[in-house]
């Protein structure tokens, strides 16, 4: 009797599991349920909300849950939820997170029509297509970029007798010296250029902006093997040392143009406490809102040996475990339409990556964006190397560089600066080795 009941239970359970499996298979194309979207860049939420009425017409029985988080919190939640099958249906991934979810097999293959779009050089710059492609197939659709540019204060430039933005890195330092202002006590009251002096990941990224123009390479370059990363600091040791010395020279001593005690970044720029700084497109709406009196100019990155802009790319993918894959892909299709891309640009300031859309009307009204959206000949767009250890390697290497910025004894001390660069290199290598992505 007992045995029979066990058998019956087993059969029932088996049947249940089988039906559940079939149910799951069918559920991939489900037209009802809750579609979860989590965002680390909350400023893009209005665009999703704008697309909701059109999405609701396609899927009246699908409820959309749109949650926004602080960026780091978003990354942590995603890292825990996706592997355990509790993640969102639509994955809005920054380019450095994308490899992690591709490699853990969490991404759904892009439907053929969208795959054709993602692979079309007329639609997307090949740099961005490469970013989402693995084994010849795209696993997401590039959506927007946070492209770097030089932001400068037109009034302060005029006051310093400067007629336009610096064209080269050497000019950038020279202008920054002219633009810096000191108070009666000798302390800086305005930064000639607001450098990234805190938050190591951001610090190494901004140091990397100089490094790229000076070397034509990023500090972390894609390896020859897919998914592998090379550290280039030793290859460019002399130039990297010079870039560090330039920073130290402008943070200590008579040529000082920035100070830790000043307000920094977009906040400092919007307050008039910085004459220039490097940042991405979102700064434009930020400064308009927080520094309405600031007359802002935006220019392409100054050049040196190379000339290019860094791109932080947001990629739209679908969770392989989602029961609403088709609905999620349809929402991604909607988000490619002109109306929503216009809204994305206007509300968040992030730049849509579709080359086949027309933003001329927007640019006529918002000329500051030209430097970010128009690409002069020879101006290269580059992205981070796909790096599953991105946060750790940038944070730990950045700590070495930011600590060196504080060290006034490095002033003019090439040997000591060289040792710092070697230390940064030696900090990065074991982290990449541990993650299994280091290429010598």
């Amino acid at each position: 009797m007992r045995r029979r009941s066990v058998l019956t239970s087993g059969l029932t359970l088996g049947a249940g599991l089988a039906l559940g499996g079939i149910g799951k298979l069918r559920a991939d194309t489900a037209t009802s349920g809750k579609l979860a979207i989590w965002l680390g860049y909350g400023e893009t939420a209005p665009t999703y909300q704008l697309a909701m009425p059109a999405f609701k017409q396609l899927y009246p029985n699908v409820q959309v849950e749109l949650l926004t988080f602080d960026l780091r919190e978003f990354e942590a939640k995603l890292a825990v939820a996706v592997p355990t099958g509790t993640g969102p249906d639509l994955l809005a991934l920054h380019d450095f997170l994308f490899p992690r979810y591709y490699e853990s097999g969490s991404l759904d293959a892009v439907p053929s029509d969208l795959a054709a779009v993602a692979g079309d050089a007329k639609v997307f710059d090949p740099t961005f297509t490469t970013l989402v492609t693995r084994d010849g197939k795209p696993w997401g659709v590039p959506w927007w970029t946070g492209r770097s540019a030089l932001f400068y204060n037109l009034d302060q430039f005029k006051e310093a007798g400067l007629s336009g933005p610096p064209q080269t890195i050497a000019q950038l330092w020279e202008y920054s010296e002219k633009l810096a202002r000191r108070g009666a006590d000798g302390n800086l009251t305005r930064a000639g250029i607001s450098l990234r002096l805190t938050e190591p990941s951001g610090g190494i990224q901004k140091f990397g902006y100089f490094y790229y123009q000076m070397t034509g390479q990023q500090i972390f370059e894609p390896g020859k093997q897919p998914g592998m990363v090379r550290v280039t600091l030793k290859d460019n040791l002399d130039i990297a040392t010079q870039a560090l010395l330039d920073h130290v020279e402008h943070l200590h001593g008579p040529k000082k143009v920035d100070d830790w005690a000043l307000k920094h970044d977009a906040q400092g720029f919007a307050n008039g406490a910085a004459a220039m700084f490097f940042r991405e497109a979102w700064v434009i709406p930020f400064v308009r809102k927080n520094g309405p009196d600031i007359h802002m100019g935006v220019a392409p990155m100054p050049r040196d040996k190379a000339w290019g802009a860094f791109n932080l790319v947001e990629i739209l993918s679908v969770n392989k475990d989602s029961p609403l894959k088709k609905a999620a892909w349809d929402l991604i299709r909607l988000l490619q339409e002109q109306k929503y891309l216009d809204n994305l640009l206007e509300t968040s300031g992030w730049i849509p990556l579709r080359k086949d859309r027309d933003f001329s009307g927007f640019l006529a009204k918002n000329p500051e964006y030209r430097a970010l959206m128009e690409e002069p000949a020879g101006y290269k767009q580059y992205v981070e190397a796909p790096d599953t250890a991105y946060q750790e390697v940038t944070a730990r290497t950045g700590e070495v560089i930011l600590a060196a910025y504080r060290d006034a004894s490095l002033l003019g001390n090439r040997d000591a600066a060289r040792k710092v660069i070697l230390k940064a290199h030696d900090t990065a290598v074991p982290i990449l080795k541990d993650a299994g992505i280091y290429e010598a």
Binding site: D70, R72, E75, A79, N187, D259, W260, A261, T388, A389
Partner: protein, 315 residues
């Protein structure tokens, strides 16, 4: 006969004993059941919420456990060995020790001084205790945000006040040499009220007649404090030192908020142990390595408490 009568009498006695034993056993069983029913859920909850995570953390510390990687091999003591070469961890350990030492000493000394002063204005003391207690109930994050503005080098009220005395602009949260003192000050402000109340309770427990007797014997106020009050308050002081040490060694929220950079990203300009654990565990996802750091933190706190217990032992 006597044997016979004894035989006749004995069964009722043993039966009574047996019944008594049965009743006692039943009572004991009911008592145990009652204790289990009342304390069981709490113990179960304690086990699940407190004991299990600690044991699991200790277990994880022997694994190379990364949240997003399926392979999580056992690596023995490798995580602990790596800690010895990890500059960030060693800096955090040193910073935490420095911060805790300063915070514990300043907070508890000030709290004792304030509590003693309040004893001299007994009627107004509760009102002052309430005022000192307000920061204790203020959540860490908004409190730290307010302090961040106070410390702001350009617009902060602290630099403004100091400038009136000719002190030049100081980057309280930007200068590596100043940041520890800035965070200690916030911590003392936050914790002081709690220990003022605790010491106040302890001081009220000191018998008046002992103080009067000492005064009659010619003891000065300082002698009465050192030879009468402090020895009687030994358990209260021990409790305060232990609690304050635990709280300070676990510092994270104020450091995280105070050192956040302009864009709100954690700057980690002042590394502390819990910050390192957070970063390794929840930013880099090295759960095994973060587990090893947790175990070291646990051992540090336990060792300090053991030393404090020995130092305050009744001789």
């Amino acid at each position: 006969m006597s044997i016979a009568s004894g035989q006749v009498l004995s069964p009722p006695t043993s039966a009574r004993r047996g019944r008594l034993a049965t009743s006692l056993a039943r009572l004991r069983r009911q008592h145990i059941l009652f204790v289990l029913a009342t304390l069981g859920p709490i113990l179960l909850l304690f086990g699940v919420i407190r004991v299990y995570p600690i044991l699991e953390t200790i277990r994880l510390s022997f694994y190379n456990y990364h949240i997003t990687q399926l392979r999580r091999p056992f690596i023995g003591l490798e995580n602990y060995a790596r800690l010895l070469d990890d500059d960030s961890f060693l800096t955090a350990l040193l910073n935490t020790a420095q911060f805790s030492a300063l915070s514990v000493v300043i907070t508890l000394t000030l709290a004792l001084a304030v509590a003693i002063l309040l004893r001299s204005i007994e009627r107004a003391a509760p009102g002052f205790e309430l005022l000192f207690y307000i920061p204790v109930v203020t959540p860490w994050v908004p409190a730290a945000v307010i302090w961040k503005w106070i410390y702001d080098p350009m617009y902060g009220v602290l630099n403004l006040g100091l400038s009136l005395f000719g002190v030049p602009r100081l980057g309280w949260l930007q200068e590596p040499n100043l940041i520890v003192y800035a965070i200690v000050l916030v911590s003392v402000w936050k914790l002081l009220g709690y220990f003022v109340v605790i010491y106040g309770v302890g001081l009220r427990g000191v018998p008046e007649e002992l103080l009067e007797a000492a005064e009659l014997d010619g003891a000065t106020a300082w002698q009465r404090l050192v030879h009468v009050v402090l020895p009687l308050m030994r358990p209260i002081i021990l409790f305060s030192v232990v609690i304050c040490t635990i709280v300070c060694f676990n510092v994270f929220a104020p450091v995280y908020v105070l050192t956040a950079s302009a864009q709100g990203a954690p700057a980690y300009d002042f590394k502390v142990l819990v910050g390192e654990i957070y970063q390794n565990g929840f930013v880099f996802y090295h759960m095994g390595y973060a587990g090893a750091e947790c175990v070291v933190l646990l051992l540090c706190v336990l060792s300090l408490i053991a030393v404090q217990l020995l130092a305050f032992r009744e001789r």
